[in-house]
């Protein structure tokens, strides 16, 4: 063999070797910054190899730990029936990972997004597959309230199926502590403030609020403001606000912030004072409810928060819930919620089958039975929920007359995941409200263009 050929084949071999090294390990590993790296290798039944019997669907979501386990259990019947496996990747920085992979031409088959804003962004990029011809639309319209279908659509096309819902307009409390002290469950804002004053007079702290949430710090405050806004200005003004048809400096918006501040900026009302509010992680924040004597008496948070309660506390005994009360009687008690929407990025037969399966009640009922889950799907049997407390919430969610999605998730990210969050932190930190609202308004004028 001549030197020339040796040289060439060595070079060629190297190139092939480098290529192989580049694409060989198809492991499903996602490193999550901030906390310890989370590795999710997830053969539901079929390991992720190219040669799986019927292939596998790649799914990118934000669920880890118990949420992921519940979802894996919900998918199990699908794998048993069709032989299609699921490779689930989890990342807290989902938007980052997803956008990067879409641009690189390597998107997952399916993504489960915690916010409709991202659905719209991806649809605008042309990264999503319309679902009208994939799911039975007539059935879907029976199974989901129009509000949910609208939230999964963009520009006349359906792009997402809502899978997991959350009800946000809830106040958690410790029924034993309430009983001991003879505190009544408030049904109006004024009663709630009167109760708060009474607790302070008794030497207690009425509220637990935690705004810290790593890179998303501030979001729990946005839920408060949205809930108040729905109750003081009504759903139409709420929609105008979310769509930026009224400015942030509008008196209706300002009023909602002031009412939030009436509680969150009151050093006597909140556990740890305002510094505590700013520094406490949202997941840790309800814990003082269960201390003896209670560190606080009330905690406003979405239905998922039970997943963060200490081990062994019992629904109905150690904790109970009341609806975030009405403020202006005209608007009653509307429901504020959120959810996770399933979207499709690669049109493969496996992905189609997967979406069709998730639109049936079965996976919803499996997760429901495991707890920490509410479904917007009307076909889900209420008996599937583990306890009366959850059932109560599921019913509110599936049947609420006025239901609005978490507004910050609908706003452009620069506002809803940017200036609104930082604005909440600044306001609770003591900054002048007009200055805060002007700063958000400035970023909104720019972001809604």
């Amino acid at each position: 063999m001549s030197r020339r050929i040796v040289g060439f084949s060595l070079t060629a071999l190297t190139v092939i070797g480098l290529l192989l090294a580049g694409c060989a390990p198809q492991t499903v590993t996602v490193t999550v910054p901030v906390e310890k790296p989370v590795q999710v290798t997830v053969p539901v039944t079929v390991p992720v190899t190219v040669a799986a019997p019927k292939g596998a669907v790649t799914v990118l979501g934000v669920w880890g730990g118990s949420e992921f386990e519940a979802f894996a259990a919900a998918v199990e019947p699908f794998t048993k029936e069709t032989g299609i496996g699921m490779a689930f990747e989890t990342s807290r920085e989902q938007a980052t990972v997803l956008v990067t992979r879409v641009q690189a031409g390597n998107p997952p088959d399916i993504a489960i997004l915690p916010q409709p804003g991202l659905l719209v962004d991806l649809a605008k990029m042309g990264a999503l597959v319309p679902l009208e011809n994939i799911v039975d639309m007539d059935q879907l319209k029976k199974d989901y309230a129009q509000a949910w279908i609208d939230l999964g659509s963009y520009d006349g096309h359906l792009y997402g199926i809502w899978f997991k819902g959350a009800l946000k307009s809830l106040v958690w409390y410790n029924p034993r502590a309430f009983q001991e002290k003879g505190y009544p469950v408030p049904t109006t804002w004024d009663e709630m403030i009167a109760l708060s004053d009474r607790i302070v007079a008794d030497g207690g702290t009425p509220w637990c609020i935690g705004l810290e949430s790593g890179a998303a710090s501030g979001w729990p405050g946005t839920d408060w403001i949205e809930d108040i806004m729905l109750r003081t200005a009504g759903p139409e003004v709420y929609d105008q606000w979310v769509n930026h048809e009224i400015p942030w400096t509008d008196p209706a918006v300002k009023r909602a912030w002031e009412l939030f501040g009436q509680i969150a900026r009151n050093e006597k009302y909140v556990w740890g004072g305002t510094t505590g509010v700013l520094s406490t992680n949202f997941g840790d924040s309800p814990r003082p409810l269960f201390d003896t004597p209670p560190g606080c008496y009330m905690h406003r948070q979405a239905s998922f928060i039970t997943g963060f309660f200490p081990e062994g506390v019992k629904a109905g005994e150690d904790y109970d819930v009341f609806a975030f009360p009405s403020i202006d009687p005209k608007w009653g008690v509307p429901a504020l919620g959120a959810g996770d929407v399933v979207v499709m990025l690669n049109d493969t037969p496996e992905a189609r089958a997967f979406i069709q399966y998730l639109a049936t009640p079965t996976p919803h009922e499996i997760w429901a039975a495991r707890g920490g889950f509410l479904s917007p799907h009307r076909g889900v049997d209420l008996k599937a929920y583990p306890d009366d407390l959850t059932r109560k919430q599921a019913q509110i969610l599936a049947s609420a007359e006025v239901f609005r999605f978490d507004g910050s998730d609908l706003m452009p990210a620069a506002v809803g995941a940017g200036s609104f969050w930082t604005g909440v932190m600044d306001y609770v930190g003591g900054k002048d409200l007009d200055a805060v609202l002007q700063a958000i308004e400035k970023s909104a004028q720019d972001a809604y263009k």
Binding site: R3, V6, G7, A21, P25, P33, W271, P412
Partner: protein
């Protein structure tokens, strides 16, 4: 378990393939050059060796830089030409002003304290018998990633209200001494300094090691001569030690300045720029990945690059001057 094993095997295979591959690549290219006419070989051979590196650098550094420059003149989704609008926003928006101010703070404080402490420690441990141990301990944080260090320091800075047990080291100490706990990361009077302190903690070891090596290179005779002449240690430090290692100090300082300009991980993990702690690089990340505004993110990247270039240039020029002196 088998997953773990296959990952280890894949890693080993990748390392082996990589090393063998590079060796094969150079051998292959070299033998290709060998086929050329004799007189061309000396001219072509260097290119065969630096060629792959140049190609990779071009693809991973030069091309992205040029592309970023191009994107910075387009809108959020890189569809329309918008002229200098992104730069205008970068230079006028209040969020960016906060970021510029903070980066300045980072540059001044992190550089002063890292280099200053590094120098003091290097000089002090030079005189003790347990020098290696002391240096190792101070060097340890350098081995920790920025993200890891930030997670550790989040615990150090953790805040709990005064009436419950503190889990943060600093607040526990303050409460034990009878003070009130401080919200280190949310109190605007201290939070920027708290973040920069983490940076100093991470960089001091690096500065110390380099400066210590420079100290050892000062000829003994000069120091002894000064002592014989009756110079005080203080005077020796300022008039012999510092001038003799001044070029090393400058190199270390510019490295820290560049790190301060690029400060990102600590801020991202600990506050994500809330409560007035924003820095340029974190804002760039936000615009790019949270707000999907590619135009602005690119404009910020270009400005950051422009800010770093003079520091880099100074560093390279000093390095060349030093080489010429040899």
């Amino acid at each position: 378990m088998s997953d773990w094993l296959s990952q280890v095997l894949a890693t080993l295979a990748a390392i082996l393939l990589g090393v063998a591959g590079i060796a094969g690549l150079f051998l292959g290219l070299d033998s290709l050059v060998g086929l050329l006419p004799q007189r061309l070989q000396p001219r072509v051979r260097p290119w065969a060796y630096i060629g792959p590196a140049l190609l990779i650098l071009g693809f991973y550094l030069v091309y992205p830089t040029l592309n970023t420059l191009y994107l910075s003149f387009l809108d959020a989704r890189s569809e329309r030409f918008v002229g200098l609008q992104n730069y205008l926003w970068t230079l006028t928006s209040p969020e960016m002003h906060v970021a510029f101010r903070n980066n300045l703070l980072w540059i001044v404080l992190m550089t002063t304290f890292s280099v200053g402490l590094g120098l003091i420690i290097a000089v002090l441990v030079d005189r003790v018998r347990y020098e290696p141990i002391a240096k190792s301990v101070i060097f340890l944080p350098v081995a920790i990633s920025f993200v890891g260090a930030s997670v550790i320091w989040r615990f150090v800075y953790a805040y709990k209200p005064a009436n419950v047990p503190q889990i943060g080291l600093l607040n526990a100490a303050i409460v034990a001494l009878g003070g009130r706990p401080i919200g280190w990361l949310v109190d605007t009077a201290v939070n920027n300094f708290a973040l920069i302190a983490v940076g100093v903690w991470l960089q001091t070891g690096f500065c110390m090691v380099i400066l210590s090596a420079a100290l050892k290179a000062i000829p003994r005779e000069i120091l002894e001569a000064a002592r014989v002449d009756g110079a005080s240690e203080w005077r020796i430090f300022w008039q012999i030690t510092v001038p003799m290692i001044s070029s090393t100090i400058a190199v270390v300082a510019t490295t820290v300045v560049i790190n301060a300009l690029k400060a990102f991980d600590i801020v991202f993990v600990m506050t994500n720029g809330t409560r007035g702690t924003e820095v340029i690089a974190n804002r760039m990340y936000k615009e790019m990945f949270s707000f999907l505004n590619f135009g602005r993110a690119s404009a910020i990247a270009v400005i950051l690059l422009l800010a770093i270039v003079p520091v880099m240039a100074a560093n390279i020029r000093r390095f060349q001057a030093q080489e010429e002196m040899r």
